[in-house]
């Protein structure tokens, strides 16, 4: 066997490059492998506690209330006749939104060859996939007869009856399943070399699992070549797909005639909002992730600095569109639009939520103008959590202030969520946490080979081609 080689990365070329890693210690290739595999093999007490909490939370807060709802009927929720969607679709849109940053950012940054992508993209993509899964479950949760969900899938049947492809919900089914499939493929194929690396380091049943998952990857130049080519195409596909997915999600609402929902700006509004909330989600997640997994050297303040800038930009964009939305509603000056706006902005309890949302999503992120804030973990947590709360409120407000104020005032009726809905909202976070916790244990959650790429290619003579 080969002896242990440590590349001297502190010399020559490499030192002058602006690495994302602390220049002090220097990281060897081997260290990367060991660090990542360590996150998968060494499991502390806290991990099990967290997982147990997430699993039981998922069961108690989501599965049990859902089972109760399926058994008793949708009536156990607080939905009512004008507001048929309530929190369930709020959560659906929220989670779809959270999903938007991971894969989309990863793809964009991959194509633009942005270096700071490399250590965070894997977990961001996983976040995408898991939040899409969470969102998808909410589709079934909000359905009146979820046991007939397969009727929304195109399959040949004896009834000769297919699907209504004119329905925005059908666009959803296609867009979300395409998105979920593509982002899963994107995630998986980006991880194959790392799965192989893990395969080489583990034993027992894990060995078999990772051998199967790694597909027999050896790291030959042809494998790398085709992987890189295919990966580029995936990335290229992902970008328009992600944009279309959230546009389509917005059309669930925007293609109606309901005042407050039927807005032409909804598609970009939702896409921007999605990237915004997704990026905030990444920030929140990364703070916990790097701390829990002790991988601060890979996910550095530099990353938060960059993400902070992104958040600031998205915040300004989001605020702009939000102002436009309110403004166009005000400018239309129809009774329907006016009532919706008054209801949303000046009627309790929605006024509190609205102005809280404006605070967390427009004012609070302005802190990120300062580099001090961008590189402060505390500020990052506060702002990103604030944005997430604000974005959830945004979706909630869109639905609960529009649907109860439709065209016929006689049918106006406020919506009050029931414990079932609130519980399932909590449960969805537990579900997401559960999936993510399992992910970090079962998957190389930091890309090994790309971090190595970032460290640089070891050259005896230096002057590698870049």
């Amino acid at each position: 066997m080969a002896t242990h080689h440590t590349s001297d990365y502190q010399t020559g070329e490499l030192k002058s490059r602006d690495l994302s890693y602390p220049s002090g210690g220097g990281i060897s290739y081997k260290e990367v492998n060991e660090d990542v595999v360590r996150t998968m093999t060494q499991t502390g007490k806290w991990y099990y506690l967290a997982l147990a909490g997430a699993v039981s939370g998922f069961l108690a807060f989501w599965i049990l209330p859902w089972a109760y709802q399926i058994y008793k009927g949708q009536g156990v929720s607080g939905l009512n006749t004008p507001d048929f969607w309530g929190i369930y679709l709020t959560n659906f849109v929220f989670w779809i939104g959270i999903s938007h940053s991971g894969t989309l950012l990863s793809a964009i940054l991959f194509i633009t060859k942005t270096p700071w992508r490399r250590s965070i993209y894997r977990s961001a993509e996983a976040m995408t996939f898991f939040s899409v899964a969470t969102a998808a479950v909410f589709i079934f949760v909000h359905m009146g007869r979820p046991w007939n969900f397969y009727w929304t899938m195109p399959y040949p049947n004896q009834r000769q009856l297919w699907l209504n492809f004119q329905s925005p919900l059908m666009f959803d089914v296609f867009a979300i399943s395409t998105y979920a499939t593509s982002s899963m493929i994107f995630l998986y194929f980006g991880s194959i070399p790392d799965l192989a690396a893990v395969r080489d380091r583990v034993t027992g049943w894990r060995k078999q699992v990772y051998s199967a998952l790694a597909l027999g990857w050896r790291g030959t130049d042809s494998e790398w070549h085709w992987l890189f080519k295919a990966y580029t195409f995936f990335a290229v596909f992902i970008i328009p797909l992600a944009v279309s997915v959230h546009s389509i999600v917005s059309w669930d609402f925007a293609l109606s005639k309901v005042p407050g929902l039927a807005k032409t700006i909804f598609a970009p509004y939702f896409v921007v909002g999605a990237i915004y909330s997704g990026s905030a989600g990444i920030v929140t997640l990364m703070v916990i992730f790097r701390k829990a997994m002790k991988i601060e050297k890979y996910i550095t303040l530099n990353h938060f600095d960059k993400l902070g800038m992104l958040l600031l930009v998205m915040s300004l964009l989001w605020s702009y569109i939000n102002v436009v939305e309110v403004f166009t509603g005000w400018y239309a000056n129809t009774s329907a639009e006016n009532e919706t706006l008054i209801y949303r902005m000046f009627t309790t309890p929605y006024a509190y939520m609205f102005w809280l949302m404006i605070f967390t999503n427009t004012i609070l992120p302005l802190l990120f103008i300062f580099k001090k804030c961008r590189t402060s973990i505390l500020a990052c947590v506060v702002v990103s959590l604030g944005i997430n709360v604000g974005m959830w409120l945004e979706r909630y407000l869109i639905l609960t202030t529009s649907l109860p104020r439709k065209f016929l005032p006689y049918m106006w009726h406020d919506y009050i969520p029931s414990w079932v809905e609130i519980s399932m909202t909590l449960g969805s976070f537990c579900f997401f946490a559960m999936l993510f916790l399992l992910f970090v244990k079962l998957w190389p959650s930091v890309s090994i080979y790309e971090v190595k790429e970032d460290i640089g290619i070891p050259m005896r003579k230096g002057g590698g081609h870049h």
């Binding site: 059908m170 690396a197 130049d221 070549h225 290619i457 050259m459």
Partner: protein, 173 residues
Amino acid sequence: MDKAVLGLFTYADELLDAAKRLEGSGYDITIFSPIPLGHEIEHKLGPRKNHIKYFTFIGSVAGLFFGLLLTLGTAAMYVLPRGGRPIWSITPTLLMSYETTILIGVFFTLASFLFFSKLPSFSRKIYDPVINVDSFGLLIDGNLRGKYDEVERILRDHGANEIKRVEETEYNS
């Protein structure tokens, strides 16, 4: 049976030099690396072809037509008018085909990647686990009878720190 020779390098430039040298001498070489060396290899050994794009294109076009067929065909199978719109309405059809274009495009890309990279393959092949950590490997395969010494010498000359004669190395042992 012939044995192949696997040289393990610490530095990528040495590996590439060795590869160029050996390839120039007409040996079948395979480069192993823990990170993609696409640029460096192409710089040194010349550009490589990208066949995947054709498959991606074909897949996308197929997806487009699949989407059109699905939306228009199923609408015509059971005629149920809704919303005062035609049975064949253009906009939703395009939306649907947009999604299927991407979906099938992704599938074709995936399939072509698996095809070209010959994955998945679970048969025993020459491999060394250290490659996935921090070593670059150069595998010289094919008819080497009587040329071992020369190959090993070239490898050593270029800085290989370990040279193995191997039949096959199990990567999944």
